[in-house]
């Protein structure tokens, strides 16, 4: 469009199906909201299964909950919340057209997400050595063995699918970071940063639901 602008970043033109950049930005963020609605129901199915199983085997779920690694889980919660903070900061930086801070904050977010995955890996490893992996390596005695197995089945499904979401998020953030570094965004156009941010906050919120269900509920009460 206009190559001779003062800013280092050229003003992008909308994709052919849109009339204006504003329309494109609205469509992108609205699309992400609709996608997140899908995601809520995706996790919702599993949470319903969790609720049913917990209602059926309260004692077993309490026992299993006490086997969880609360220290790693709590550290991970802090890590993820912090990453949400750096993400929000990155969106804010992008909004003000600050190129380098945007990229650095996105990098920090991605690193925190990687740390989350690494800690999750340590946790999975410990569970493997303790024979808590249903179907593959599960050995548990006692009257509640069965319910413990169900708990861990749901635990691996929930955290595994959440982990996949984190991984996809890291990919998205990395791509956005590179684009930010190369100067693809400006005050007038930072939709990808905003949309990635929406996704990332959702991943974080899912964890905020999982954390108490996995680590805390079993430890309350007798």
């Amino acid at each position: 469009m206009s190559d001779a602008r003062r800013e280092p970043w050229p003003d992008p033109s909308p994709e052919p199906q849109y009339a204006t950049m504003a329309q494109q930005a609205e469509a992108a963020s609205f699309g992400m909201w609709v996608f997140l609605a899908t995601e809520v129901l995706f996790f919702g199915g599993m949470l319903l299964a969790y609720a049913w199983a917990r209602g059926s085997f309260p004692a077993g779920f309490a026992e299993a909950g006490r086997h969880t690694k609360i220290f790693i889980g709590s550290v991970n919660t802090v890590v993820l919340l912090t990453s949400s903070f750096t993400m929000a900061w990155a969106v804010n930086a992008a909004e003000h057209g600050r190129r380098r801070p945007t990229a650095w904050l996105l990098a920090a977010t991605a690193l925190l997400a990687l740390l989350f995955l690494a800690l999750k890996g340590v946790e999975y490893h410990q569970e493997w050595t303790e024979h808590l992996v249903p179907g593959l390596n599960f050995r548990e005695e006692g009257p509640n063995a069965h319910a413990v197995e169900l708990f861990y089945f749901l635990y691996f499904m929930l955290t595994g699918i959440h982990g996949i979401h984190v991984t996809i998020g890291i990919g998205l953030i990395a791509v956005t970071m590179v684009r930010a570094w190369r100067g693809a965004f400006s005050e007038r156009y930072y939709t990808p940063v905003e949309v990635t941010g929406l996704y990332w906050h959702f991943v974080d919120i899912v964890w905020i639901f999982l954390y108490p269900l996995i680590y805390l509920v079993g430890r309350s009460g007798p």
């Binding site: 199906q17 329309q23 129901l41 319910a147 749901l154």
Partner: protein, 547 residues
């Protein structure tokens, strides 16, 4: 163009020299990498036609087997056939049928947009669909699946000896294709409307696809995760659906029907949309009670989420759950009835002509009414106890799915054929096919109501001799139906090459899609149209055919 809903200088001659079929190249590559919603719609049309014939072939073999008990196939082959028929027809034909072909092609045209909001996502959706479809076909070729399309646990997770996990993966993937389409339609409808195209000026076809998309986006993920849980349960022998593992098979049924009942509305709502376009056009009258028709679609898509357990009245749910779900099922019948009355009232004092699309549409109204009314029988708590899982159910949902949805699909296919291809088809052959389908359909499926009431259970490869007479009627009807479905293949194919050129608006219809040339150019409109009037402003006198 006196019937136009558009103002502006669109009166220049509309000769389809520059159109989406030739613009951008005609190579295979240009098709496989296209982002044009119209080309993707064509890709979808070809693929769902393939799957329709695969599913139809299975149906033919099923009806052949049921002519003479105990039939010509072994039980295992028969069980695989009906499972194949169900999976292919539900997920690879009915669910994508109208939304992904006509919806894809028409929604941007109808709202005056250049394309859907996310063209790449649209193409990805087609690739996911194809990957899923090929996976399903692969599962069938290497040995098949015998669970029925419902995948009930613990049979599917522990006892079945078919390739269940592959089939689950196929349906899982198809689910994401459908989610992406729904997402695209919702955003497009919200954000891409032309100036002046207010919500109440949207054609009902767009409204019904919008309602459908809401269901796709909110119900499909639940199916996806449920099937994933079944697959893991089958692979690792741990899970929450098998009672032997401490699970509950009813939990599976609740989750499955939470998707699969709304999915029925995914299959029928777009059909309502097509009929609401065709009936006013051939009755030359505005749609009666536009707002009622629109809001009944939205109501159906919302209440549709709260009726799922009416599939489980004999499965062991509590009495109170049964009472509530039955009541809601009666409530959801009301908006469907409203639609039927509105279409009928649209005919009142019109100038009705009986071209092929109208014949299909009238057939739709008749068959859908029968299907809907027998739905009342099944929603009835006590009566359901007698007929659920019998041929009564089979007949009921085929009246909705085949009599309703497939008729609507054919109505739309004929109605928009000139727009999509720029050619006219042979009207008399089309009318003959429409009549064959109507009579063949009734002969096939009406006897099944009687069979069900007599007590013939579904998914039986063999049956008692007293049921044979009705089964012979049904199979005879199926052969008529098969001829009716194959005929369009020929005369539509012929029209592609030899058909008379269609003008921009051969039906003298209102609606933005008729304001651009046939076939439309890649970006749909030469200039963005501005809308000043509500839809369906058909004049009281029949218009001379314009072009």
């Amino acid at each position: 163009m006196t019937t136009a809903t558009v103002t502006g200088k669109t009166d220049e001659p509309v000769v389809g020299t520059r159109n989406y079929l030739t613009e951008g190249g005609v190579t295979l590559r240009s098709w496989l990498l296209t982002r044009d919603h119209k080309r993707i719609a064509i890709l979808y049309t070809l693929s769902i036609t393939l799957f329709f014939f695969v599913g139809g072939a299975a149906a033919t073999l099923i009806r052949l087997n049921l002519v003479t008990p105990p039939g010509i196939f072994t039980p295992d082959v028969y069980n695989r056939l009906f499972t194949l028929h169900g999976i292919v027809m539900v997920w690879f034909f009915l669910i994508p049928s109208i939304p992904n072909t006509m919806g894809n092609f028409l929604i941007p045209l109808m709202i005056g947009a250049k394309d859907l909001a996310f063209p790449r996502l649209n193409l990805l959706s087609w690739y996911l669909y194809m990957a899923a479809g090929l996976l399903a076909l692969f599962a069938i070729v290497i040995g098949g699946v015998d669970t029925g399309w419902t995948f009930y646990t613990p049979f599917s997770s522990m006892y079945s000896n078919g390739y269940v996990v592959l089939a689950l993966a196929a349906v899982f993937t198809a689910g994401f294709s459908s989610i992406l389409t729904g997402l695209n339609f919702i955003v497009t409808t919200h954000r891409m409307r032309a100036p002046g195209m207010t919500w109440y000026r949207l054609p009902v076809f767009v409204w019904s696809n919008y309602a459908t998309s809401i269901i796709m986006v909110l119900a499909t993920p639940v199916l996806a995760i449920t099937l994933a849980l079944v697959a893991v349960e089958r692979l690792l022998q741990v899970g929450i659906f098998d009672p032997a593992l401490g699970g509950d098979p009813l939990l599976f049924q609740h989750l499955f029907w939470f998707y699969s009942h709304p999915a029925v509305y995914i299959m029928i709502l777009p059909g309502f949309g097509v009929i609401s376009e065709v009936v006013p056009c051939f009755a030359r009258k505005p749609l009666f009670g536009y707002k009622f028709v629109v809001w009944s679609s939205i109501t159906i898509s919302v209440i549709g989420f709260f009726v799922w357990a009416h599939h489980m009245f004999v499965a062991g749910i509590s009495l109170y759950a049964g009472l509530v779900f039955s009541l809601l099922s009666y409530v959801i019948a009301v908006p469907s009835a409203i639609k039927v009355f509105n279409w009928t009232a649209t005919l009142h004092k019109g100038w009705i002509s009986f071209d092929a699309p109208m014949l299909y549409a009238l057939g739709f109204i008749g068959l859908f009414t029968i299907g809907g009314l027998t739905g009342l029988f099944l929603a009835n708590l006590a009566f359901d106890v007698h007929v659920t899982d019998t041929y009564f159910v089979v007949a009921h949902f085929h009246y909705i799915m085949v009599g309703g949805m497939v008729s609507a699909y054919f109505a739309g296919l004929h109605y928009w054929w000139p727009k999509v291809t720029g050619r006219l088809y042979h009207e008399w052959w089309a009318r003959i096919a429409a009549l064959l389908i109507f009579f063949g359909f009734n002969l096939t499926f009406f006897p099944q109501f009687i069979l069900g009431y007599l007590g013939m259970q579904r998914r039986y490869f063999s049956y008692a001799p007293e049921f044979q007479l009705w089964n012979i009627f049904s199979s005879a009807g199926a052969s008529v139906l098969a001829v009716g479905y194959v005929l369009p293949f020929f005369y539509l194919g012929w029209s592609l090459f030899r058909g008379q050129r269609a003008g921009a608006n051969p039906w003298a219809a209102t609606g933005l899609e008729w304001q651009t040339s046939s076939p439309p150019p890649t970006h749909n409109f030469d200039r963005t149209p501005t809308v000043t009037r509500p839809p369906y402003q058909y004049r009281p006198e029949p218009e001379p055919q314009d072009v």
